[in-house]
């Protein structure tokens, strides 16, 4: 029809987006600082906070479960295979599907979201923690036992500290993947940086919001990765000390 293109051309792309839309926003330019400033508190900051919370809880719970499973598998070897099987199974299910599958029994709430996010962390954390524990040299444990350390003392003073590099490597992977996955949470529960992305997609897509949210997610992931690297360096001074001989 001859009218529609005319209207499309003259009408603004995003008529009334958020507070006080500027011309930049209205014409959907690449990135509008003013929109970001205006919508930081109402839109972006809450989403970021929720995202951090979602990820933190998921990794925290996943870590606790993985440590428990890894310690059990370290002690009773037969536990490893079934655990790997189960966690691989969970990891293989695509995120979108897993979220929806959990909605049926649990409901479209934070529990479903967290259960799904936790499931994805289990495989990598379990494997890394177990590998870390197993890589402790045999003679070091023999010496510790011979010196009169109890099993608990050996675990806490020798095995876990020496497994730390592998554990943190696993945590890095888990944290980064969780932060990325949490963008999908919005499909079942209104939380996280996926919300502004979803909104933006529905509006055009609205580039500024999209880019703002996207940058926030990716920066968050990279920041957490860097923090963990720093943590590892701080906690394992001996790993840096290397000399021939």
């Amino acid at each position: 029809m001859s009218v529609a293109p005319q209207i499309a051309a003259s009408a603004p792309v995003i008529p009334e987006f958020g507070k006080g839309s500027s011309s930049c926003v209205v014409h959907n330019h690449l990135f509008c600082w003013d929109w970001v400033e205006g919508n930081w508190s109402p839109v972006l900051w809450p989403a970021l906070r929720q995202h951090v919370l979602l990820s933190l809880i998921a990794v925290g719970i996943g870590f606790v479960i993985a440590v428990a499973l890894a310690l059990a598998a370290h002690r009773y070897g037969w536990i490893e295979k079934p655990t790997i099987l189960l966690t691989t199974f969970l990891y293989t299910i695509p995120s979108l599907a897993l979220f929806e599958l959990l909605v049926a029994p649990v409901g479209a709430n934070i529990f479903a979201a967290e259960i799904a996010l936790v499931s994805y962390t289990l495989l990598i954390l379990f494997r890394n923690i177990l590998t870390g524990l197993r890589d402790v040299p045999r003679e070091v444990l023999d010496a510790a036992e011979g010196m009169g350390m109890t099993r608990t003392q050996q675990l806490l003073r020798i095995e876990l500290p020496l497994a730390l590099p592998a554990i943190i490597a696993g945590l890095r992977i888990a944290v980064v993947t969780t932060i990325a996955l949490a963008t999908i949470v919005y499909t079942i529960y209104d939380s996280g940086l996926g919300v502004p992305i979803h909104t933006a997609l529905g509006e055009g897509p609205f580039k500024t919001e999209l880019i703002a949210a996207g940058v926030l997610v990716i920066s968050l992931a990279i920041l957490c990765d860097a923090l963990l690297v720093g943590l590892q360096r701080a906690l394992t001074p001996w790993a840096r000390a290397r000399q021939g001989g």
């Binding site: 040299p137 003679e139 070091v140 444990l141 023999d142 010496a143 510790a144 036992e145 011979g146 010196m147 009169g148 350390m149 109890t150 003392q153 020798i158 500290p161 020496l162 394992t236 001074p237 001996w238 000390a241 290397r242 000399q243 001989g245």
Partner: protein, 385 residues
Amino acid sequence: MSRRDNAQEEGLSAYPQAAELQLRQVCKRYPGEGEPAIGELSFTVPAGAFCVLVGPSGCGKTTTMRLINRMIPLSGGEILLGGQSVMERDVRKLRREIGYVIQQIGLFPHLTVAENIATVPKLLGWAKDRTDARVEELLALIGLDTEGLGGRYPAQLSGGQRQRVGVARALAADPPLMLMDEPFGAIDPINRAYLQDEFLALQEKVKKTIVFVTHDIDEAIKMGDRIAIMRKGGVLEQYGPPEEILGRPASDFVAQFVGADRGIKRLSLTTLAAVTLLDDTRRSAEARRVPSSYSLKDALSILLTDAGKPLAVVDAPKSGEAGEGRVLGYLTLSHLERLIAEESERDGDGVVAAGMPGAHPGTAPDGAHATPSDAAADPTAEASA
């Protein structure tokens, strides 16, 4: 906390007596195996003695050692440390009182040298000051008290240094007993000899009861006060001081194990300072000077290669004096033969002169040897404990 449960009070060897170790009919069987790993083993290590368990692979020497600190459960018999059965002790407390050194050392990679050494004191709950002081003391004892070495990590040390830290770590709580499983086995021969000498010097100072496992008969002879020759099944072929093992092997197995050159090995146990030397000899002007600390074996070697020339045995110069010490006497090949023959005879009497300082200038004008009674009359010539 009773004295028995806490290894030490303070200082080197504060444990008033290094403890005596007794094995009585010790037996170890593994399920499913027909022959026991150790059938029936009995011997006693006096307090402060250095006992070496030596034998071919699979003879059970390491198993025996690990039975003592209960790293392996005992199938039968008794092991008494300081008169008390090790089975009656709480296993963790027992182990904290026994120094344990293994071949691969097993230093904790994530702890500094100082922290490694402080491990058992920390397990025993020592106060921080006391632990720090003890660590300092031990670093000095093993010769690693240079600046900052205590703060280094094992990965930053050389093999020899790590070995020494392993020994220091085992000594930290001043245990009455040390168990050492081929501790110098993974070191190159030069450093090994050096570490052995250092450790012997250390033992002179701290006088621990030591059970030392090795497969190397030369190391056993060098280090041990008592040598236990074992063969498969934990069978004790012979148990006695090195001179006895070398001079009077109890069986063909022992004779073969110590080697056909045991006669020569035996010579390494006696120093020139301990034997009767010639006052003078035909070619004394050409004599080659050798220190009195050299063993008869060294002397034999030199005499054989430098045909004809006698040796002039010189003692160490007194501290402060420059130049060489005085000539104690001379040694020729034929005289050495006589000395060796004498020693074999003395063996037969059961009186053995171990390497003791103290010169015996010959009494007869022609430099003939002293009689056995002379040696017996000299109190400094008695065998060491």
